[in-house]
């Protein structure tokens, strides 16, 4: 991992126009990633992490989505200004993505071989037999023991773990600079998850790929990530290195999230909870979105939106409590 900035998202605002109301999906999101880094994007359902990731590959349908403002600089160029043709040459080549449910992310009517070679042929000028050879190498690299056999199979003939390995093979076949992994192991059994996470780490070291890892599982973040960004109701509330955020959480939501996760070996009678529910994204309250559930609420929290404060180098928090100190 070096210090060059690979991805820089500045002030990203995205909303969705539905027949009922406008949904403010993400508001003022700032995110930086260095080359070779693994950044975890963590939050509960509806917090906006998938929308943020999809925006990087221009996968937000507009309409009903609307990119209100912001820029996404990838290697210095604004992705949001690129046209369809330019995006097609980026997707699968410089930036790849793998999704949550591997069984439904693969095309059911094409063989695995057809799907992987399709990616390879699109981005590299290889003929069919060379593409197949490369596909075989990739399947071997991701730990599938009979690559030649697997190439001839269909998605439904493979287990969840095998499908995810195929997805990773496809995503890494053109050695992308950035891999976006959206809940890649949530649908897998825990022993298979352990294999896939190890695989991702090994391949990342070999290829120098940066990974944007989206998940709600704090254990996965602790295992995989160099840095963490915590999202709540469409905003990033805390951002820093893994140790900073997990060992010294400063935002009450991060503290609540860590405290309410049951851990093996914990001897607690009662789990600490975060009372209440996530706010309605069509009717966001004034001030801090977390205020109705916060145990450190002050009057100003209901009036003004908290800005960003660098509590220690690289550790950024959006909370009035820190600013009041």
């Amino acid at each position: 991992m070096n210090n060059n900035t690979l991805l820089k998202i500045t002030n990203l605002n995205i909303r969705f126009h539905t027949y009922k109301a406008i949904v403010s999906a993400i508001q003022g999101v700032n995110l930086n990633m260095r080359e070779g880094e693994t950044l975890g994007l963590v939050g509960e359902s509806g917090c906006g992490k998938t929308v943020t990731a999809s925006a990087i590959l221009q996968l937000i349908p507009t309409p009903p989505g609307e990119i209100v403002s912001g820029e996404i600089l990838f290697e210095g160029e604004d992705i949001l200004r690129k046209n369809d043709q330019e995006m097609r040459s980026i997707r699968g080549k410089t930036i790849s993505m793998i999704f949550q449910d591997p069984m439904t992310s693969l095309n059911p009517v094409f063989t695995i071989g057809e799907q992987i070679t399709s990616v390879i042929k699109t981005h590299q000028k290889l003929n069919k037999s060379k593409a197949l050879k490369k596909a075989t190498e990739m399947l071997f690299l991701v730990g599938l023991s009979n690559p030649k056999e697997t190439l001839k199979k269909y998605a439904h003939e493979l287990s969840g773990g095998m499908c995810q390995r195929v997805m990773i093979a496809m995503a890494l076949s053109c050695k992308p600079k950035l891999l976006i992994a959206d809940e890649p192991t949530t649908a897998l059994d825990v022993t298979v998850q352990a294999q896939i996470l190890q695989l991702m780490n090994d391949l990342k070291k070999e290829m120098g790929t940066a990974i944007l890892l989206i998940t709600h599982d704090l254990g996965v973040i602790a295992k995989m990530c160099d840095g963490v960004a915590v999202m709540y109701a469409g905003r990033i509330v805390e951002n820093g290195t893994l140790k900073q955020v997990f060992k010294n959480p400063l935002h009450p939501y991060t503290q609540g999230l860590l405290a309410s996760t049951p851990k093996i070996g914990d001897d607690k009678e009662e789990l600490i909870t975060i009372e209440g529910n996530v706010p309605d994204l069509t009717q966001l309250p004034p001030g801090c979105f977390f205020s109705s559930r916060c145990n450190q609420f002050k009057d100003i929290c209901g009036q003004e939106s908290p800005g960003y404060l660098e509590a220690e180098p690289g550790h950024i928090v959006s909370c009035h409590n820190l600013q009041l100190q």
């Binding site: 509960e44 359902s45 287990s159 969840g160 773990g161 095998m162 059994d189 825990v190 022993t191 298979v192 998850q193 352990a194 294999q195 996470l197 190890q198 709600h216 599982d217 704090l218 254990g219 996965v220 973040i221 602790a222 295992k223 893994l242 140790k243 997990f246 060992k247 609540g256 999230l257 860590l258 309410s260 996760t261 049951p262 851990k263 093996i264 070996g265 914990d266 001897d267 607690k268 009662e270 789990l271 600490i272 909870t273 975060i274 009372e275 529910n277 996530v278």
Partner: protein, 334 residues
């Protein structure tokens, strides 16, 4: 539930066995091939025995396809067992007719995994929670309404929610409604099938605390089915680990987590990622995938992935044996 001051192990107050399962089997037949002549079986549950004491929570853990949900459904008689006996409060399920089944069912409640499909979207909360009362009692409408209100309050909801519909609630709230419904007939035993797996972590904590609290107040007995080891450790007095239709290890919670004996249990515990960045280990993995429950390996089912497997593991099936008080393991190497 009291905490034993010496060993800090959770023990149930009573010694009465409420639920007894003996040699339970559930096979599903698959038909295929030409003229549907080819028959295969899914050996979903293959000779399981356990008992649950009154007031106790038995956690049933395993990965997908191990048969844990099938155990839950068979216990509740949503599925008829292929073989074996289930006894709830001294009443045998296999000997029951429609009438006695109705009596047994009143002693039990069921909470399903998916809060979005387990509530009828066209019924109000009042109707959903009242349904067991309307089916099994002769209470009048006003008494039913009062009882529903009482149940809603127990789970942290109130009068305002009576006439709303499921889509107006969050996942966590829907699970509370499910719990209220499951408690309608004052059951002594609840089967909870992955009750918090579909919920966010902060909501999961609320629902788990509620379940533990209700157990203490109403002296309930739980079969808690889950794939999440940390959750199971938190709520269970004892834990049973399932693999491909069989129980491979069963013990008091603390003993199992501190001193797992079966290679599968060890691998399962090692595979759970720890949210503490300082406690990361290079664990030993379990390679490969779970074999299909249609073609179960001969002898010990775990041998195809077991780091200790020897030739004889394919010839004989290990039985559960007690290695220390209350701790049973099915493995030739223990």
């Amino acid at each position: 539930m009291k905490m034993d001051p010496i060993s800090k192990e959770k023990v149930s107050d009573s010694n009465e066995t409420l639920v007894r399962v003996e040699h339970l089997k559930k096979y599903f037949m698959l038909k295929g091939g030409f003229l549907n002549l080819k028959k295969d079986y899914v050996y979903a549950v293959d000779d399981i025995s356990f008992s649950i004491i009154q007031g106790e929570t038995l956690g049933l853990v395993g990965e997908s396809g191990c048969g844990k949900s099938t155990v839950g459904r068979t216990l509740f008689h949503l599925l008829e067992p292929t073989a074996g006996e289930v006894t709830i409060d001294s009443m045998h399920l296999s000997e029951s007719n429609k009438e006695s089944l109705s009596i047994i069912r009143k002693k039990m409640g069921y909470v399903f995994q998916d809060p979005y499909s387990s509530l009828n979207p066209r019924k109000s909360v009042l109707d959903i929670v009242a349904e067991p009362l309307k089916t099994h009692t002769t209470m009048n409408a006003s008494d039913i309404k009062n009882r529903v209100l009482e149940l809603l309050r127990k789970v942290g909801l109130d009068q305002a929610h009576l006439n709303r519909f499921p889509h107006q609630f969050s996942g966590g709230q829907r699970q509370r409604i499910s719990v209220a419904r499951a408690l309608a007939l004052n059951p002594s035993f609840l089967v909870l099938d992955e009750p918090t797996s579909a919920l966010d972590v902060s909501v999961q904590a609320q629902v788990l605390n509620l379940l533990v609290d209700l157990q203490k107040k109403l002296k309930l007995t739980y079969l808690f089915i889950s794939h999440n080891l940390a959750v199971v450790e938190h709520v269970s007095h004892r834990v049973a680990i399932m693999y491909l239709g069989k129980i491979v290890e069963i013990s008091q919670t603390q003993k199992l987590f501190e001193n797992p004996k079966h290679p599968y249990t060890k691998a399962l515990l090692a595979a759970v990622p720890n949210p503490d960045p300082d406690l990361q280990t290079d664990e030993l993995f379990l390679m490969g995938d779970v074999p299909s429950p249609v073609n179960v390996p001969s002898g010990c089912r775990f041998r195809t992935r077991c780091p200790k497997a020897e030739d004889f593991c394919s010839q004989k099936t290990p039985e559960l044996e007690e290695i220390e008080s209350g701790h049973e393991v099915a493995c030739f190497f223990v």
